[in-house]
Amino acid sequence: MLEIRNLNARVEGADILRNLSLSIKPGEVHAIMGPNGSGKSTLGNVLTGRPGYEVTSGEVLFNGKDLLSQEIEERAREGLFLAFQYPVEIPGVTNMEFLKASVDARRKHLGLPDLSSFDFMKLARETSKRVSLDAAFLKRGVNEGFSGGEKKRNEIMQMMLLEPSLCILDETDSGLDIDALQVVAGGVNAMRDDKRSFIIVTHYQRLLDYIVPDHVHVLAGGRIVKSGGKELALELEAKGYSWLEDEVA
């Protein structure tokens, strides 16, 4: 599904990712944990092609194809999805219009016909219900005036509608109350199957109580310093990150 080999990337002249390698198979859930500034969010941004993130060396294969040479939108249409830590507002562009355009772009890429407006609206309403967002949100501007929790649920709704093959959740749990956290986790769990993979980037173990990962990786200083099963997250919760950083140093 995803094969990252010796990836090096820099942001504003500073090396952030150093020789990072990671392999993700279909259906797996990988948690990426680590202290602030360890490069956790950078990984998602580099994979999705965000401007300002410069890959200096290494390669990434997504579904067997070279990912890094693809445009941002091509990667998205191929099934790569990033749930943003801080979703931006797009005033005046309704959520419905935005979602329809996104889904149309993805379906076109997959060679599927456009959904009719009627079918899409039906689907969108059902999906908003699954993330406990009132259907009225579909008529509002994208994230316009949404609370933090509403924005995150909106991200999950987009993920459900786009049905990506690899979902990256970038600290989706930050700033969420327990109810919203359960909605987000419920959304992810409902989408888990033997084909779809997830990268859950988080600072805290809390989210992993609800989304149980197959693998946990600890990122420090731009590289993976420790990998393990779900029990590694608990260990981190108990001991913090500093012992690992010491170990690396």
Binding site: T48, R50, P51, G52, E71, I72, E73, A76, R77, F81, L82, F84, P87, V88, I90, P91, G92, V93, T94, E97, F98, A101, S102, A105, R106, H109, G141, V142, Q158, L162
Partner: protein, 478 residues
């Protein structure tokens, strides 16, 4: 992102073709003889000639205004030709069948096939190419309702009393430099009269297009909505691509008598010049309406064209409880410059005005909003709400706001809100991460920004306006 944005702005001007119709063009220059020539060509009565000459004499004493936030080389008014009419018009067509097929084809290229419009849209079009109204459709049906919709040159002959009574009452001959010039040399334009208590049975539409090289186009439009009547008027404009700059100095006067309502919508797509800023239309237009008691005038405009724009559709709210509205989207790209806005003059009691102005700047363009809200001493309880938003695309363009507020009545309520924002990298990235390409994303963001104005446009115009923005922005990212 800047480079990416740069690319999106580039797109060939889709309406930039020149139709080779034999024209009857006056050689360049302007003096009283030229005005007598124009008046004689139109077989005008003496009073009309005198009216023009009075304007011309005033104009000679006036100076070109320089206060607008635009820069362009001096215009040599003696180098322009002030009259041009397609030759085949010498014997005017009585119906569409008699119209030069090449003209009709040109309209078709512009997307306004008259035949089809007659059948489908129910829109009566008074199409103006250069100076002479080519054909007026649907006139019979309108006449049945008592509505007069004809070229103003014809109205001078057929309805002299109405023309005499209202022409120049909203925009006087000496109002400003360009209005005086227009009053002296205006070639043609539309005349509309809606009788008392009549709701105009269809939307009226005029398509302006400048075809001839080196001709200024000076239309004069006069719309009179008698007591309790309603009319919606659509105006669309295009011009072929030329390396030279062309001058367009129109005057539009609206008169809304007691309880009447006029909705005036413009989609302006004059040739904006090329990517290096060469050529394009100088659009120096005076548009103003007067509202009597309980009357309402709404100006809605979507402007994507012209090299230089100087335009302030305004409302004089003379009657008590009258309402003035101004909804505007002005998009500038490449080297375009726009200084546009409105004036709301509150004279009557409880008069209300709303201004929503959206400016979008891309490339190296400069866009300015200039607005005046004046509350006179007698305007008890007057209210104004102004919202002025600027959107910047890239980092080499500029947006400026010059709001003037004058209140002489302490009971007045005036609100002014202004924002400036950019199409941010984050917005663009969100859209692309969801699978949209950059052009589609920018177009969607810009359309969202304009939503409040687009919803004021008649339906078919709103679609056209959205498309026009998309075309005008193509190439600004990529």
């Amino acid at each position: 992102m800047t480079e990416q944005v740069e690319g999106l702005i580039r797109k060939e001007y889709a309406a930039g073709f020149h139709t080779s119709i034999e024209s009857d063009t006056l050689k360049p220059g302007l003096d009283e003889e030229v005005i007598r020539f124009i008046s004689a060509k139109k077989e005008e009565p003496e009073w009309m000639l005198e009216w023009r000459l009075k304007a011309f004499r005033a104009w000679q004493e006036m100076e070109e205004p320089t206060w607008a936030h635009v820069h362009y080389p001096n215009i040599d008014f003696q180098a322009l030709s002030y009259y041009s009419a397609p030759k085949s018009m010498a014997d005017k067509p009585k119906s569409l069948d008699e119209v030069d097929p090449e003209l009709l084809e040109m309209y078709a290229k512009l997307g306004i096939p008259l035949h089809e419009q007659e059948a489908l849209a129910g829109v009566a079009v008074d199409a103006v190419i250069d100076s002479v109204s080519v054909v007026t459709t649907y006139r019979a049906k309108l006449e049945e309702a008592g509505v007069i919709f004809c070229p103003i040159s014809e109205a001078v002959h057929r309805f002299p009393e109405l023309v005499k009574k209202y022409l120049g009452t909203v925009v006087p001959q000496k109002d400003n430099f360009y209005a005086a010039l227009n009053s002296a040399v205006f070639s043609d334009g539309s005349f509309v009269y809606i009788p008392k208590g009549t709701r105009c049975p269809m939307e009226l539409s005029t398509y302006f297009r400048i075809n001839e090289m080196n001709t200024g186009q000076f239309e004069r439009t006069l719309i009179i909505a008698d007591e309790g009547s309603y009319v919606s008027y659509l105006e669309g404009c295009t011009a072929p691509m030329r390396d030279e700059n062309q001058l367009h100095a129109a005057v539009v006067e609206l008169v809304a008598l007691d309880d009447a309502q006029i909705k005036y919508s413009t989609v302006q797509n004059w040739y904006p010049g090329d990517k290096e800023g060469k050529g394009g239309i100088y659009n120096f237009v005076t548009k103003r309406g007067i509202c009597h008691r309980n009357a309402r005038i709404s100006w809605t405009q979507v402007e994507t064209g012209s090299a230089v724009t100087w335009k302030y559709p305004s409302c004089i709210l003379k009657g008590d409880n009258s309402v003035g509205e101004f909804y505007s989207v002005a998009l500038t790209n490449n080297f375009q410059q726009a200084d546009t806005g409105t004036k709301m003059i509150h004279i009557g009691k409880n008069t209300r005005s709303t201004i929503v102005a959206k400016g979008i700047s891309a490339g190296r363009s400069q866009s300015a909003y200039r607005g005046l809200v004046r509350i006179n001493a007698g305007a008890e309880g007057a209210r104004n709400y102004t919202q002025c938003d600027s959107l910047l695309i890239g980092d080499r363009c500029g947006a400026h706001t010059f709001p003037y507020i004058e209140s002489k009545n302490s009971t007045a309520q005036i609100e002014h809100e202004a924002t400036t924002s950019k199409v941010s990298d984050d917005q663009l990235f969100l859209c692309q991460q969801r699978g949209l390409d950059a052009e589609k994303a920018v177009s969607m963001i810009v359309n969202g920004f304009c939503r409040e104005v687009f919803k004021e446009l008649p339906m078919e115009f709103a679609v056209e306006a959205g498309k026009l923005l998309e075309v005008s922005l193509e190439g600004s990212v990529g």
